[in-house]
Amino acid sequence: MPSLSHAQARQPSDAALSRFDPLPRIICLDDFDRGFCGWTQLVGNYEDSLDAMLPGYAQHSSPMLSTLSHWDIGSHGGVDGDYALKIATGPRPGAQNVTIKRLTYRRAGPIRLEAYVTFKPEANALKLSETDVRSFGFLFDLQVGDTTPGERVMPHLRFLNASSGEHVQKWQFKRQSVPIVPIGTENKTISHYHLSPDGWEDLPGGAQRLCYNEIPTKVNWHYICFDFDLSSMQCTGFRCNDRVFDMSGFDSLRLPAMKNLWCMLNLAFFAETDSGKRAFVYIDSVCLSGDF
């Protein structure tokens, strides 16, 4: 089992890795100064017609490479370069957007997701606007191999920044399944909008006040590290900046294994707005590593 003691992690000498604490095998190190690095839009499932796509997915659009350009200061830039991956919601309360990277895994063992991320609302008002972004978060979409009894497992974590204008600031997880909707007529495709506002539960001890800064165009980056064991399909750790959280109360959304998703290893980040402003989530870099 991996632990959040980073003493076992590789101590890399090069600058690109030195701000991460990866497990021994780097599966991917995505610095968005190099481009999109395989991160794309999460599109909803459909058959015959795009009208079959669930509304939650229909609102998604492509991620972009941003210099965090603002009207009052110009480009903010990333942690160590010019560009970050950006997802933007529409300007409607509750609007969401998701970016995803799709892999499969070689060995069902420990994996670690690390990233430097931040969030801000569209700076279209001369206000602090700290309660305009509802949440940002990340998830894995995983399934056992085709010879292994098991499930499709989707660990979700989000930072609920605000709700109906209240500055909430706490981590939440989701284990409650959402309705599965058949798509089309050939019995080959289903859909389920697992990022719906329902079913989020507070992570015990998960309140955290993140640095937001003093106007909407001043941006600070946050470090997240999420550990998961693909053999037990259990979360084994989570930290954000200086806080290490007790994940004993965490569980994942679980579904029956699906016939086309064996060894799936998808990872995604999402944004949600609480106001009529676009919410922006920026990802400077992502490191996915494994113990194999």
């Binding site: 481009g35 795009l50 229909a58």
Partner: protein, 110 residues
Amino acid sequence: MRMSNSAVVTRNITWSGLAHSEPYEAGWAGEAVIFVRALKPGIGGAGIAHVEMSADGMNWAREGTSFPLPTSENEVTFGRVSHFGNWLRIAAEFPEGASLTVLVTLHFKS
């Protein structure tokens, strides 16, 4: 090798009156082609698209490129732009009573 990327910014949305694609940042790119495909037959008269650019993604100016929007199902029209700075979108104008269900995609090269 030059960097290239395709972005889907508006998908299966029915436009009428004055409509806009969502703002998109591509300061890394030197050129862009903006395709609009009609996903369903258009209703009423043909619309027109104007490429717009912005310093901040909130305040927009016409870039000068305009192109007719498609009218029949799966018809594609496009505009080409370069030297656009960072933010891009299109503004679509339709005659009264006209509407179109669109797929708007942006295609960039560094």
